[in-house]
Symmetry: C2
Subunit: 266 residues, 2 copies
Amino acid sequence: MPVATKKIIKEVRSLKHKKFRDEKQAYFAEGIAITLSALENNAPVRYVVYSPELLKSEVAYRVLSEVKHRIPCYEAGAEAFQTISGRDNPVGLGAVVGYRDISPESPELLKCSKFVCLDGVKSPGNLGTVIRAADCLGFGVLISGESTDHYHPECVKASMGALYTVPVARFDTADGLKQWCDKHGVFLVTTSSRARDDITRIAAYPRPVAALLGSEATGLSRDILESGESQVRIPMYGASTSLNLAVAAGILMYDIATKPRRKVGG
Amino acid sequence: MPVATKKIIKEVRSLKHKKFRDEKQAYFAEGIAITLSALENNAPVRYVVYSPELLKSEVAYRVLSEVKHRIPCYEAGAEAFQTISGRDNPVGLGAVVGYRDISPESPELLKCSKFVCLDGVKSPGNLGTVIRAADCLGFGVLISGESTDHYHPECVKASMGALYTVPVARFDTADGLKQWCDKHGVFLVTTSSRARDDITRIAAYPRPVAALLGSEATGLSRDILESGESQVRIPMYGASTSLNLAVAAGILMYDIATKPRRKVGG
């Protein structure tokens, strides 16, 4: 397979920075599970970079030999791969993948009946972990406000490939998200540790349903919290009163996914 | 307040490495919430370091002026503080705290009726996030096997101060943990994505109860999984079949905390 030129290595390295990702409309998806998920799920992979010195996965080599006829696969030395990697011990496989943003009006998104929504999420690791959990629990993901980039390397890593199986759409503001819910008849549940209703008291949720969580540091603003048709909190039993955002989102999705569907107006 | 000498700054910086933490039997707990939690909860704080140029929290200054008579509080310049910090934007407050390991036989641990247990957890961020969630949901924490150090800076950070309110005990092996459960009549629930019982089908859990999760990469070994009196999985509804470890632990703790207590032998 062709060798990665210095130009290619430099391009991949530049994608660590949002400025260059936006310029190229592409990001580097690093790791075996993530690269294979991108290839399997027909993500817009521009090329693959791998390092024979580092890559030990037989499955990965089998996939590479299948895709190399339609997608460029470049060999890189271990040292060159280190410079493009975001990990201490790189596994030697990654793909440069083009942005594929989903419109809030896309059928792919609208066929979902459950959504987890994050307003102003700051940590790319948290966002990726929520996308991964959304995939496991059958949710679409909506992001609003001044949230971190979902193509940030730490988000891509934490998503473990779920970025290619879960629809993720962005809204400029939580208000825009609320309007989208109203337009499509999606029941909006907002969350806060100070909210009225403990989720353990909720017997059933309507469908479609969207659960909105605020930022790590400050949560949802009062206005947005009050715009929820239901305002809920996760019960707390100890000294701490705040869960990590991804853990809170996971618990909420689990609660919604496993409780019965509530009939509306029935 | 006295100025932090070069020797002190050097000592704090060395605590980024496990070797020096073990040598000094101490670690650096950085951040406002974490430092205040250590002071409030009578953790063995040896001294506090703060940077007047960086620290903007009024609450923090109030606490410092209260504790400075009994605990040394050293001032450091912004540049010196940067060198001891593990963060991109340090808030300018941290404490050097002595190890305080809890014995599995300590009353503090044995008074708990719910435990979350991690065997071979590798990510300090995951471990800290689980400790934080354990505090919120009222669980003690048991760690076994080749697990990461709970005094690692990333674990301390992710725990958000819960390290000082939640009892955390270590076992050399998962077998040792299982024996401890048997000795103290603790019902052991083991977990795996391949386990027989879906947790949504469980109506109630006995007390005391311990839920054991395996490592991020490989989960629990077959032997350990089968040693559980109940073997459970979290239901999956999407393409991914594996949740982040801290999210899985959070969901499991929520399920146990909010379901009724099962009478044993009743």
